[in-house]
């Protein structure tokens, strides 16, 4: 296999099928994400968006098809999953911070334990990251002492501390109240502006339109329609897409 070069898609998904028992959740999904691109996946609940994004870092397995991250097949049984996950950051809907660790410790844990990096260097980087997500002064707070939006930003910093090549965001604002949604979205927007490759599953249409390079609409396990955000939101072709957009916009 030829080695991956940056002019090839960083994430390449081809004809992916995934079932839970008899229920087929993904029915042949294909999409490409280039380095530095921000793509949004939108669609009704149960359309397979989260399942798809979880397949990219092998939290879910797939039945058939192929997912390449930097040219490596994610669902090759011989693949080192841990090495893959070091390259692919993930942020969850429910933050999933380590509740017994402070914000700073949450960010520092993986670089120290997984990457075996020097503690002092990791701490300096973690403090910078927390500053970057606008949480200066909250370093020693436990997750239980932070608001949802603050916890989610710690989760983003925790993921960034591993210096991933691509970040996955799984409905990261769905559990937040409207006021704190904005602070998380601003953080992601900063990241995108810095050139981070991002794949987002989101219900924030305004945000998707503003920040993404490409929007995918999924329904019932297939990609119904996709396009640049201006086209997609302004000129949707498929009746299902239009019905969905009419409901949410």
């Amino acid at each position: 296999m030829t080695p991956w070069t940056p002019d090839q898609p960083l994430v390449s998904i081809r004809n992916v099928h995934k079932s839970y028992g008899d229920i087929e959740v993904l029915k042949g999904i294909s999409l490409d994400v280039m380095k530095g691109q921000v793509i949004c996946i939108i669609g009704p609940s149960g359309s397979g968006k989260s399942t798809l994004i979880r397949c990219i870092n092998a939290l879910n397995d797939i039945q058939s098809g192929s997912i390449l991250v930097e040219g490596q097949e994610v669902h090759d049984p011989k693949l080192d999953k841990l090495a893959l996950r070091r390259k692919v950051g993930m942020v969850f809907q429910q933050y999933n911070l380590f509740p017994h660790k402070t914000a700073l410790q949450n960010v520092m844990m993986a670089p120290i334990k997984v990457l075996k990096e020097n503690r002092a260097e990791v701490e300096a980087r973690a403090r910078d990251l927390l500053k970057k997500v606008r949480l200066e002064g909250k370093e020693n707070h436990y997750p239980g002492e932070l608001s949802g939006g603050q916890q989610q930003r710690v989760a983003i910093a925790r993921s960034l501390a591993m210096r991933p090549d691509v970040m996955l965001f799984d409905e990261v604002t769905a559990a937040l109240d409207p006021e704190t949604v904005k602070e998380v979205l601003v953080t992601i927007k900063d990241l995108a502006a810095d050139g981070m490759t991002c794949i987002l599953v989101t219900h924030e249409m305004g945000f998707a339109r503003e920040v993404s390079d490409h929007v995918y609409f999924t329904d019932k396990g297939v990609i119904v329609e996709h396009g640049a955000p201006a086209d997609f939101f302004g000129n949707a072709q498929d009746p299902r897409t239009r019905a969905f957009l009419d409901q949410v916009l």
């Binding site: 939290l59 999933n96 380590f98 509740p99 997984v114 239980g144 002492e145 591993m162």
Partner: protein, 251 residues
């Protein structure tokens, strides 16, 4: 000072025949009480440590891939949880004790490799360990799957996820039940009396067999001693619980 106290109890024994605090003024009896207490403390500490180790290892093995290992742990838990600890002590000492090798330090005496104290520690550790496995399992299962997933998605191995995330949280969840079981364990150590382990109850009975007039005071001593031992343990566990409390968690 000590002499006055001893004289007081000597006089008390003379005037009140049921209240002979013999172990206060008789050095030999005092020695029995102290060696008995020390044995009870040793039994408790060893059993505590071993039972917690059994609990942690067993709870880990319950999540193992090998179904044989899982079945073995389940069988062990069922056996030790569902039979009386006194019976287990007798079984270990009399039944298994027959098959353990012995050695002869002087060419005359045959000494079994595992003493009655050894059997008591083994038997009681296995007894309490069975409960500890269930307690830790409940704690581990109460850690949300999503928290584990977050650790895995950061590239942590199963062992790293366990030691850094799952176990610290599971321990906090398990601690109240663990305290209850360890308190029970300390109290159960006096069943080693049945296989002649010279612990506090054994020595107390020996004292009141020699001095029937000392039965009331010695029983009182037993109660106070166990109250004290268990009190220290539960205070210790309580302050540990408080120390591990996470600000803002579970509130």
């Amino acid at each position: 000072m000590i002499d006055t106290i001893q004289d007081f109890f000597r006089d008390l024994a003379a005037s009140a025949p049921h209240w002979n605090f013999v172990w206060i003024y008789d050095d030999h009896q005092m020695n029995r009480v102290l060696t008995g207490l020390w044995m009870t403390i040793k039994l408790s500490v060893f059993c505590l440590i071993f039972s917690v180790i059994i609990g942690i290892v067993g709870a880990w093995a319950q999540g193992a891939k090998s179904s044989l290992l899982r079945a073995a742990v389940a069988g062990y838990v069922q056996f030790f949880r569902n039979t009386p600890p006194l019976l287990q002590l007798l079984f270990f000492y009399f039944a298994l004790g027959q098959f353990t090798p012995s050695y002869s330090p002087d060419g005359w005496l045959e000494v079994p490799l595992i003493s009655s104290v050894g059997w008591a520690i083994i038997s009681l550790s296995f007894f309490a360990g069975a409960f500890n496995i269930e307690i830790f399992r409940a704690g581990i299962e109460a850690v949300p799957h999503s928290t584990r997933e977050a650790a895995e998605s950061l590239g942590m191995t199963r062992l790293q996820t366990y030691t850094n995330v799952v176990l610290p949280l599971a321990l906090r969840i398990s601690l109240p039940s663990l305290s209850a079981n360890l308190i029970n364990l300390v109290k159960t150590t006096n069943q080693a009396y049945a296989i002649a382990v010279p612990e506090l109850l054994y020595q107390s009975v020996a004292i009141w067999n020699d001095y029937p007039s000392a039965q009331n005071p010695t029983m009182l001593l037993l109660l106070v001693a166990y109250l004290g031992l268990v009190g220290i343990l539960s205070l210790g566990m309580g302050s540990w619980e408080k120390k591990l409390r996470i600000p803002g968690y579970g509130a």
